[in-house]
């Protein structure tokens, strides 16, 4: 039996804000190639967790590694270069740049072209830019935004911006992509579309960790689900099991209602 190392390993993550404990000694793993969901009621620490592991918030304790790379305490740009990218809850894009430019920026730090070569406009740079553009068009086609390649990102609708953000997160061929609420505030048609996009990307070999409030979305998409409540992991496992887990129900619905439901099944 070979023990394959998980792609992402988080151990003992803790974070406090002004005396409030946002994340409390959290440990979990994500296996390569999986689509893992991270759910929990408001204030359960989901956002703080991914802000910490992507370097945007300093953690108070804990370590996290991407395979053999220790990412603990690294700044966001180093973590991105190491192969962990993310999207944001407040959907971020470079509004004044075209979609294609948005995507080319996302990959420019991960090729081997240095600053002097970038200024020299030599063949190395041209090849890198051409490759970036090709991949950009590819991803735009995958998410369904190909026709807007030369348009400024400012004209996109909210749902389209989310698609652009997903495409951008894939540009540098990351090993792990963390999606922060990819379908929040989006209409059902777009939700299905995003679900398909994620399936396609996962099929190409990308590992995904998805934070979401939309529980149905998570259940249909993810092979494993981790549930947080008040900064702690209260359950993890395949969707079917999580759905009927008493602690999960209690966290989302309150203990009384959960007991009600359970006795109903009894």
């Amino acid at each position: 039996m070979t023990a394959t190392r998980p792609l992402l390993e988080v151990r003992g993550l803790s974070k406090h804000y002004f005396g409030l404990t946002a994340v409390d000694d959290l440990s979990f793993e994500v296996d390569a190639g999986a689509v893992v969901g991270l759910i929990g009621p408001n204030g359960s620490g989901k956002s703080t967790t991914i802000d910490c592991i992507s370097g945007f918030q300093p953690s108070d304790a804990g370590t996290w590694r991407l395979e053999d790379l220790d990412l603990t305490g690294q700044p966001p740009h180093r973590i991105a270069r190491a192969g962990l990218t993310r999207t944001f809850q407040t959907v971020r894009a470079y509004d004044d740049m075209t979609l294609l430019e948005n995507l080319c920026v996302a990959v420019q730090e991960s090729d081997t072209v240095g600053w002097l070569q970038a200024l020299g406009r030599g063949p190395r740079l041209r090849r890198a830019e051409a490759a970036a553009e090709a991949r950009g068009r590819d991803l735009l086609a995958t998410v369904g935004l190909a026709e807007y390649a030369e348009a400024p990102a400012a004209i996109l609708s909210y749902g389209q911006r989310k698609l652009l953000a997903i495409a951008a997160s894939m540009m540098a061929r990351p090993r792990l992509v963390v999606l922060d609420e990819p379908v929040a505030g989006v209409n059902p048609t777009m939700i299905r579309h995003i679900e398909q996009v994620i399936h396609k990307l996962n099929a190409e070999g990308v590992t995904l960790l998805i934070v979401e409030h939309n529980v149905d979305f998570i259940m249909s998409l993810c092979s494993r689900v981790i549930v947080l409540d008040a900064g702690r992991k209260i359950a993890e496992g395949p969707p079917g099991l999580i759905r009927s887990d008493a602690r999960v129900l209690a966290a989302y619905l309150g203990k009384a209602r959960a007991a009600e439901l359970e006795s109903g099944h009894g």
């Binding site: 740009h77 470079y94 004209i155």
Partner: protein
């Protein structure tokens, strides 16, 4: 002809005209305007790089300008260096100082950097005025000699007439803008724009904001320092007034009106505004009141200047509903 090709032609034509001006007039007044334009265009171009492209408000440009001026003056008069090496050394010194204040304050926040850059400019003024053993104090270093340049081909060019200074500063301004253009149209400029537009997004894509910010600061400081080194020889004196806030206010107005982040906008604005004061014949105080009012109006109504307004129109064109096809 493509838009880029047409623009290149316009630029070349303008350069030819500007280059030819001293042949048609030796009127000192016109040539002085030209020198002023060349000098301010380099200052505002550098400020545009730091503020317009990278999003960092900085008041330090005048400090780099003056440091370059004093360094060049001292190296030439005390150590006998040539003008070009003196000015280059002044630029490098300014760039080094820029890196130090940039690194120390950017670690904290953009707010801190803005305030520190302001304090730095004032500190330069204080040092120039009061550290008499180094800078000769309030009297400055007058009587800077006319520089002599050894040109390829053996000729020596004595830079004493207004026309000579015109060509010297004009030539450097062209060089400076070529360098700035090269940077902002490269992926380095693209990264700077990304940092200004959405810094957290840029970070999540592997872009190191501090590195690019320091690059912008160092480059703008280098160019400001060199042009300062050249300009003080035109003035034939360097004194504490080289650090005057007036330079800061003027180059800020040029960047704001031209449009932060707009290479051509700022260049045009510096041309118009360098010529304007004399055309308007206001006293300095009223002109500054006017600049202040323009600044207030711009911040309230159109913060992106002329360049930004053009950008908005480009975006609006995309938004217009496409005609139904087929």
């Amino acid at each position: 002809m493509s838009a880029g090709g047409a623009r290149a032609l316009v630029v070349l034509a303008a350069l030819a005209v500007l280059f030819a001006i001293p042949q048609f007039t030796s009127h000192e007044y016109v040539l002085a305007l030209g020198v002023s334009f060349a000098m301010f265009s380099v200052l505002s171009g550098g400020l545009n790089l730091v503020y317009g492209y990278t999003g960092l408000l900085s008041f330090a440009q005048v400090g780099f300008f003056g440091i370059g001026g004093y360094a060049a003056a001292l190296l030439v008069t005390e150590l006998g260096w040539s003008l070009l090496t003196g000015a280059a050394a002044g630029g490098l010194l300014a760039a080094a100082v820029g890196l130090v204040i940039g690194y120390s304050s950017l670690r904290l926040s953009r707010h801190a950097f803005a305030i520190v850059s302001l304090s730095f400019a004032l500190l330069c003024l204080i040092v120039a005025r009061d550290w008499v053993s180094l800078t000769r104090g309030a009297m400055g270093i007058p009587g800077l000699p006319a520089p002599v340049l050894d040109l390829p081909g053996g000729t020596r060019w004595r830079i004493a007439q207004p026309a000579d200074f015109y060509y010297l500063l004009f030539g450097f301004a062209v060089f400076a803008h070529a360098v700035i253009y090269l940077v902002v149209t490269s992926r380095l400029g693209r990264a700077m724009r990304a940092i200004k537009l959405n810094e957290p997004l840029a970070q999540s894509q592997g872009i190191n904001p501090l590195a690019y910010k320091l690059l912008a600061i160092a480059l703008s400081a280098l160019l400001a320092g060199i042009v300062g080194g050249l300009f003080v020889f035109y003035l034939t004196i360097v004194d504490p007034s080289i650090f005057d806030f007036y330079y800061t206010e003027t180059m800020l107005i040029m960047v704001i009106i031209g449009g932060p982040g707009s290479f051509w906008g700022v260049l045009l604005a510096s041309a118009v505004l360098a010529a304007l004061p004399d055309l308007l014949r206001f006293t300095t105080d009223l002109r500054m009141v006017l600049y202040g009012a323009v600044l207030i109006a711009a911040m309230l109504l159109f913060p992106s200047g002329v360049g930004g307004w053009l950008q908005q129109r480009r975006i609006a064109r995309w938004r217009r509903p496409q005609p139904a096809s087929q």
